[in-house]
C-alpha cells in the first residue's frame, strides 16, 4: 500500500533528523542551527501551503500571526504567566492567532474575492505591527521586549521542538488533505461556484484552513521568541516571514505535501550560503528568485519530470489533479 510507504518515509526522515544531534555537536555546529531554521520554515511553508495551495486563498499575512505568536510568549513571560518552554504557553501562542484568524477571516473571506483577501491580510500585518509599536509598556514599544536570556541552556530543545513543529505541520496538512475535508478544500480552490452548488459551505472551509494555518504560524513565532529572547516589532512583523515561506512553497511545489519541505530546506540553504558569501546583496536574491521561479518553474520542483520519475514507486498520484498555477482548464 502506497500510504504505508509514505508514512514509513516520514518516520525514516524524522528519525534521521532526530539522530543528527548525536553526530554533530549541537552547541557548536552551524548545521544544527541551519536545520533549526529549516524546520521552522517547513512549518511556516506548510501553513501557507494549506491556505493557498490547497484552499486557493492567497494570504500575505503569515507574519501577522507569526509575530502575534511571538508576542503572546513575550508578554506572557513578562507578566509571569508563561514560563520558559511552557507547553501551555506555546499552545496559547497558536490559539490566539487562530482566534484572530477566525475573527478577521469571516468578514474577509465571505465578501471578498481572492485579491481583496491578499490585501486584507497584508493590511493585518501592518496594523498589528503598528499596534504593538504603540502598545506602551506592555509591548515595549518600538524597542520591543527583552526576555531573560539567562534561561538559555542548550540548543537541543530548540532543535527538537522545531523538528516537532515541522513534522506536526506536515502531518496535520497531510491528514487534512487526505480526509474528506481535503476534498472540500480542493473543491473550493478549483471552482468555488461548483463547490457551493454541491453543498459545500465555502466560508466554513476557508476560515478553517486559514485558522489552522494561523495556529501553525503562531507556534513558529513562539519558538523564535524563545530562541531570540528579543521580540522586536520590525523583526517579528517583518515581511520576510511571509515572503520566504511563499517562495519556498512555490519553488518546492504548491499544493503538495513534499514540495514545501524540499523548498524550505533548499532555500534556507541558499539564503544561509548567500548570507555568508554575499552579505551585502543577499536580500536581492529572494525577490529575484520569486520572480524567476514563478515564470520558469511555476509548478515547483516536485512536479518536474525527473523528480516524479525518481519517486514513482513511493509517491501516490500527483497530489492535485488540477495544477494550480498552469490553469490549463481555461
Amino acid at each position: 500500500m502506497k500510504k504505508k510507504t509514505q508514512i514509513g518515509l516520514l518516520v525514516l526522515v524524522t528519525a534521521l533528523f532526530a539522530a543528527v544531534p548525536l553526530i554533530l555537536d549541537s552547541e557548536k555546529s552551524y548545521y544544527v542551527y541551519f536545520l533549526f531554521m529549516a524546520f521552522t520554515f517547513i512549518a511556516l511553508s506548510q501553513s501557507w501551503n494549506l491556505v493557498a495551495g490547497y484552499t486557493g486563498q492567497i494570504s500575505l499575512g503569515l507574519h501577522a500571526f507569526f509575530g502575534l505568536g511571538a508576542y503572546v510568549i513575550a508578554i506572557g513571560w513578562g507578566q509571569e504567566i508563561i514560563g520558559f518552554f511552557d507547553p501551555l504557553g506555546m499552545i496559547l501562542s497558536g490559539l490566539i492567532p487562530a482566534i484572530l484568524a477566525v475573527v478577521v477571516g469571516i468578514p474577509l473571506l465571505s465578501k471578498l474575492r481572492g485579491d481583496y483577501f491578499a490585501l486584507g491580510t497584508l493590511g493585518l500585518g501592518e496594523i498589528l505591527r503598528l499596534v504593538f509599536i504603540q502598545g506602551g509598556a506592555l509591548t515595549g514599544g518600538s524597542a520591543g521586549l527583552m526576555l531573560p536570556s539567562s534561561s538559555y541552556t542548550s540548543m537541543l530543545p530548540y532543535y527538537f521542538i522545531a523538528l516537532f513543529l515541522a513534522v506536526f505541520a506536515t502531518v496535520v496538512t497531510y491528514l487534512m488533505v487526505q480526509s474528506s475535508l481535503g476534498w472540500a478544500l480542493k473543491a473550493v480552490r478549483d471552482d468555488e461556484t461548483a463547490a457551493a452548488a454541491n453543498g459545500i459551505n465555502i466560508l466554513k472551509y476557508k476560515v478553517l484552513a486559514f485558522a489552522v494555518g494561523a495556529f501553525m504560524a503562531g507556534l513558529c513565532g513562539s519558538l523564535q521568541a524563545y530562541y531570540l529572547f528579543h521580540i522586536h516589532p520590525q523583526n517579528f512583523f517583518g515581511l520576510n516571514w511571509t515572503l520566504y515561506p511563499i517562495l519556498m512553497c512555490v519553488l518546492g511545489g504548491v499544493g503538495s505535501i513534499t514540495g514545501p519541505v524540499i523548498g524550505a530546506i533548499f532555500l534556507t540553504a541558499i539564503f544561509e550560503l548567500s548570507k555568508i558569501l554575499l552579505p551585502e546583496i543577499h536580500p536581492i536574491f529572494s525577490g529575484l528568485l520569486i520572480v524567476l521561479t514563478v515564470i520558469f518553474l511555476p509548478d515547483g520542483i516536485v512536479r518536474l519530470g525527473w523528480f516524479e520519475k525518481f519517486f514513482k514507486g513511493r509517491k501516490t498520484e500527483s497530489p492535485i489533479n488540477l495544477k494550480l498555477f498552469t490553469g490549463k482548464e481555461k
Binding site: 493557498a52 492567497i58 500575505l60 478577521v104 468578514p107 474577509l108 465578501k111 471578498l112 481572492g114 485579491d115 481583496y116 491578499a118 490585501l119 486584507g120 497584508l122 493590511g123 493585518l124 501592518e126 496594523i127 503598528l130 499596534v131 509599536i133 504603540q134 515581511l239 515572503l243 511563499i246 517562495l247 512555490v250 551585502e280 546583496i281 536580500p283 536581492i284 529572494s286 525577490g287 529575484l288 528568485l289 520569486i290 520572480v291 514563478v294 515564470i295 511555476p298 494550480l324 498555477f325 498552469t326 490553469g327 481555461k330
Partner: protein, 298 residues
Amino acid sequence: MFYLPPIDILIQILINGILFGAMYGIAAIGLSLIFGTMQIIFIAQGAMIVLAAYGTFWLFHFFSMDPYLSIIVIFPVSVIFGLGLYQVLFRRVARAGKFPSLLIAFGLMVLLENLMSVLFTPNPRSVRASYTAYGISALGLKISFTRLMAFIMAILATTGVSLFLKKTLIGKAVRAASENLESATLVGITPHRVNSVTFGIGIGLAGLAGIATATTYSFDPYFGFVFSLKAMIALALGGMGSVVGALMGGVLLGVLESYGSFFLTGGWADVISYAAFMLVLMFRPEGLFVRSSDSEKP
C-alpha cells in the same frame, strides 16, 4: 485632553490632507487601471514610485534638472518601462490566472527595494530645490507650493487618463477589457495589448507620483511598501475600477490621515487608516463612491 481647535486650523488641516491625498490618488489610479484589466493588485507600484523619485533625485543631483521639468524624461521612460515590464515578466503568466502575477509583483517589489538599497544606499534622500520651502499664503492659510503642484499634477493626470479611456480607441478597448475580457476578446481586442497599455500608463502614473514624492517627502528605498499600502487603501475607499473614485479615495485617505495625526500621535494615525481600510474591505468592498448597482464586475 481633547479640545476643539479653532476653525481656521481645522480648515488648514483639511487643505493639507487634500493636497497630501492627491499623491495617493495618482498612485491609486495606476493600481486601478492595472486591476481593471489584469485583476491583480500591483503591489510593486510603491517601489516603482520610489524608483521614479530616485530618477528625479539623480537628474536633479547630476544635471541640476528642475524636478518639474524632469517630467519630460521620467514620464516617457516610465511608460516604456511599464510596457517592457509587462512583456518580460507578466506576459508569460498572464493567462494562468492572477496568482502567479500577484506573486511576481510581490517578488518584483522585494527585488526593487533591495536593489535600490544596495545601489543607492538606504539613506533617506530628498530633492531640495529653491522653492521647496516656499508656501503661498491666502486668507490666513498657508499652502505648500510643492504640495499644490502635486495636487495639480494629480488633477491633470486624472483628467488625462479619463479622456484617454473615453476618447481614444485603445482606451475604449481597455475599458471593454476591464468590463468583460472574454467578450472583448471576441470583438477582436488582444488581451496582451490591452494589458501592456495599462501597465504602461500605470507605471507612467507611478513616475508622476514619484516626481511628486521626491519634491515633497524625503524617501528611502523601503518607503514604497507603505506607499503601495496607502494606494491600496485609497483604491479600496474609492472603489476598484473607477479613475475618479481612486483620486477621491486618495484625497479621503489624506484627509483622514491629516486629522488623525493632528488629534492623535503619528503612529496611531496609520492604525486608523489601516482600520478604515479593513472596515471598508469587510463591509463595503465595492468602495464608498461606487453605486452598488455598477459595482458587480464579472
